[in-house]
Amino acid sequence: MDQAIYTLHEFMLHTKNWTYILMGVTLLVYVGYWLFLTGRDEKIRKY
């Protein structure tokens, strides 16, 4: 990044922006990964 960071506020703005994006990605990854992990399990029968 070229832009220098002068204040704690700027620093937090930058890191929190990326963190929020990561949070969304995390939730999606968790759902996908869980489906992958349990993909070949015995199906729970609901007659």
């Binding site: 922006n17 609901k46 007659y47």
Partner: protein
């Protein structure tokens, strides 16, 4: 069980009072949006947040916590005996959060810009950003979680079945999001240590708000359940009625223990900050009223009711539990906040602020009654009996 009896006259005393409140609310709404916040409130430059934030937002969100607590107990921790309590709790939560957003619009200077922080200029350093993002997301999750009731009522089987398959992931997201925004509402006050009395200010404010939200949820399910039994008994099916007492005893037991934990961590916190000397002041006495009368006492009463199998005691404890949450949110936001200001600069709500809050609560109750008397909330629709 019968559906809403449309032959009965609508002019019951309850409906008349509701009608008067709704009309008053509409008048106040017009005043608010044509004359500005100053015309209908006692908010000022020293006291920017009043009961619209302290009650409508903080208490509203806390008391809607029954949704995540009940659904987590039933779907994540396997307590199937609470299944009949899930839909009423989710309905309350959905309506609660929806009307929190409605109430928020009264408090904002530019309500139409509410989407700005999400879509236009994200102030991610702010805990209020976190609250807004979480509440918006959770409201969506709640709407989807609640929708099967409406879909069954409308007979939209296919969509309903798709949504029900999402229950697990929605429940987990619901608990995650609830943890975040319940705690972040407390975290809002972290930024103003100089303005909040030391007995209430703590770096653990977010933890306190989260733990007490669980108490609020458990107590509200019990409290609301007793109201529903009186007013909407005819809508309840056999399962609901059979499980009802079990819900009260089970939730009462949980609430007792969580309240005890909450009491302990508050005591630990005051000790860590070395603030015991404040107990000898007026604010200290008030803190004791909150902790002893509305945390310790309901904890004991819940325990008593569970041990002696006295449902009336548990119901009473749930009233104290609900009042305790309201008191805590009021204390943090309005009483302990600005404690150092001279008395003549302190805030007390204008009657119109109170009027609008009453209007919001009445609206929630009215919509709930509408939903519960028509849609499968207090009973299971015979066409959709799931194996669960």
């Amino acid at each position: 069980m019968q559906h809403a009896n449309t032959n009965k006259s609508l002019m019951t005393p309850g409906n008349i009072i509701t009608g008067i409140i709704l009309v008053m609310g509409l008048v106040l709404t017009v005043l608010r949006f044509t004359k500005g916040i100053g015309a209908v409130s006692n908010l000022d430059d020293n006291n920017p947040w009043g009961i619209w934030i302290g009650f409508d937002l903080l208490c509203g969100v806390a008391l809607a916590a029954g949704g995540y607590v009940t659904s987590a107990s039933c779907y994540l921790f396997g307590m199937k005996r609470y299944h009949s309590a899930v839909r009423p709790a989710i309905t309350t939560a959905f309506l609660g959060y929806f009307f929190v957003v409605v109430a928020l619009n009264y408090d904002l200077g530019h309500p139409l810009r509410l989407p700005y922080p999400l879509v236009y200029s994200q102030g991610t350093t702010s805990l209020l950003f976190e609250v807004g993002l979480c509440v918006a997301t959770y409201l969506t999750v709640l709407f989807v979680e609640w929708s099967p009731a409406a879909l069954e009522w409308l007979g939209l089987r296919k969509i309903r079945n798709v949504v029900v398959k999402l229950t697990l992931v929605l429940t987990i997201f619901g608990v995650v999001l609830s943890t975040l925004h319940q705690s972040s509402l407390g975290a809002l006050f972290l930024i103003a240590p100089s303005k909040l009395h030391p007995l209430w200010y703590s770096s653990f404010l977010p933890v306190f708000f989260f733990i007490s939200s669980m108490v609020a949820g458990l107590s509200m399910v019990i409290f609301e359940g007793s109201l529903a039994h009186k007013g909407m008994h005819h809508m309840m099916d056999e399962t609901h009625l059979k499980e009802a007492d079990g819900v009260v005893f089970g939730f009462g037991k949980a609430a007792s223990f969580v309240l005890a934990g909450y009491f302990m961590i508050k005591v630990i916190d005051v000790t860590m900050d070395n603030d015991w000397h404040y107990l000898a002041t007026g604010y200290g006495a008030w803190w004791l009223v909150e902790m002893l009368g509305f945390v310790a006492l309901p904890s004991f009463l819940y325990a008593l009711g569970v041990r002696e199998k006295r449902i009336g005691v548990i119901r009473f404890a749930s009233v104290l539990g609900v009042l305790g949450i309201v008191m805590n949110r009021f204390n943090v936001c309005l009483v302990a906040f600005n404690w150092q200001l001279p008395a003549d600069q302190r805030y007390f709500p204008h009657w119109m602020e109170i009027g609008i809050s009453v209007f919001i609560v009445t609206s929630i109750i009215t919509v709930y009654r509408f939903i519960a008397s028509r849609m499968p909330v207090l009973y299971e629709h015979p066409d959709y009996k799931d194996a669960h």
